[in-house]
Symmetry: C2
Subunit: 207 residues, 2 copies
DNA sequence: CGACCTTTCGACTAATAACGTTGAATCGTC
DNA sequence: GACGATTCAACGTTATTAGTCGAAAGGTCG
């Protein structure tokens, strides 16, 4: 099997090509032949590394999520106040969401109804997200920055409210066009939301 | 047949939707169903207005070319010096080329070999382009700005050299990736080319 | 209303495109 | 030169999609 590194290298190569295509055209508009040709391989060779197209897609998403978690774990290390950590996290998270949005090529229904086979990817990811936000909020509680009863419940609320807003946004973009402008609008709303939530969490005495 | 205006309106609607899709994904990656659904129609209804997908594509291109010619005819009216007109024209023309590039979705071969059925669209367009450039150069000659023997030959040279550079650019982008940077590079080269050509055309005494 | 024209669509076909398979060839390494 | 790792051309099978057809809905005018 040569060195695991080499196989690893090739898989990375495949995933890179696939990610580029998927980000541009979405899952259904990308063919295995295109991915293969992008890296100078025959289509059949792809199947040596990945059993199905769906698997490649899953691997691409998983890698993006991993990178995200890795990056954002860095945020937790810094000695910033918890509120800054939370805002930084949310910003990163929104960016990831926007990228993933393209992977279905503007077809918001894709993620929920159309492909239940991909749902599991997001549940494990969500758990890890929950952990990170909970950590941030707990930290804020411990150093008397936040005044919360249950960090877990608070983290859950933040996550749900964030995802809910994204859903609203998807509905809106699907109805009308104009994605660019609405993405900025969406980001502003998220900023505002976080500020408002923080208002309700921070300890009065700390202001 | 209702008012011709209404049919016209609907055709415009179809073309708008088609243009958006084609510009984003290219000819082959767009389905009739998608175009139809974008405007809330059944696919079969599209065929009431256009006999084939290729015809829609042709109409989209033709309309873009028409708009371009209309816009640029405006340039000719202004009392600017011919050299400025020429540069303005070239800039507009390059922009059009970049847009049309997407219609094949980065597949440069599409325009030449793959679809000879589209070639006629470009020959009539080229004739009109020739006319416009010839007009500009002739004007420059008449008011003693340019020193050229034959405006026609000069216009032809400019056009061919421009198209040749575009071809080179296509080859380059197909070999490597990195489109964004290379487009800017291309535009700089075109600017430089035009400046150089103008150097060889303008009357010395006018400098 | 009812004849007539315009416009829309659901359901179908035929052809193509794309996923995924297989068995053989090639390469690298021991 | 044997053996596993890797690659591919050619193929089978399913899914997608351009284009068709007949019927239905909508509208207009006498």
């Amino acid at each position: 099997m040569a060195l695991p590194n080499l196989a690893h290298e090739k898989e990375k190569h495949i995933l890179d090509a696939a990610e580029n295509r998927f980000a541009r055209f979405g899952f259904s508009k990308v063919t295995m032949d295109e991915i293969a040709q992008d890296i100078g391989l025959a289509k059949a060779s792809l199947y040596y590394y990945y059993p199905t197209k769906e698997n490649i897609f899953r691997a691409v998403i998983a890698r993006k999520q991993d990178k995200f978690l890795q990056n954002t774990k860095g945020i937790l290390q810094h000695p910033d106040p918890a509120r800054e950590k939370l805002k930084a996290y949310v910003r990163q998270r929104i960016a990831l969401g926007n990228q993933l949005l393209n992977f279905s090529a503007l077809n918001s229904t894709f993620w929920q109804e159309s492909k239940p086979g991909f749902k599991d990817l997001f549940v494990t990811f969500s758990r890890q997200e929950m952990d990170m936000i909970t950590t941030i909020v707990s930290e804020g509680k411990q150093n008397n920055e936040f005044e919360v009863a249950s960090p877990e419940k608070t983290a859950e609320l933040i996550l749900h409210v964030l995802l809910g807003l994204r859903l609203r946004f998807l509905q809106a973009t699907q109805a009308h066009g104009e994605t660019r402008e609405q993405i900025e609008n969406f980001e502003q709303q998220v900023d505002f939301l976080i500020d408002t939530l923080l208002q309700g969490i921070v300890k009065r005495s700390s202001l």
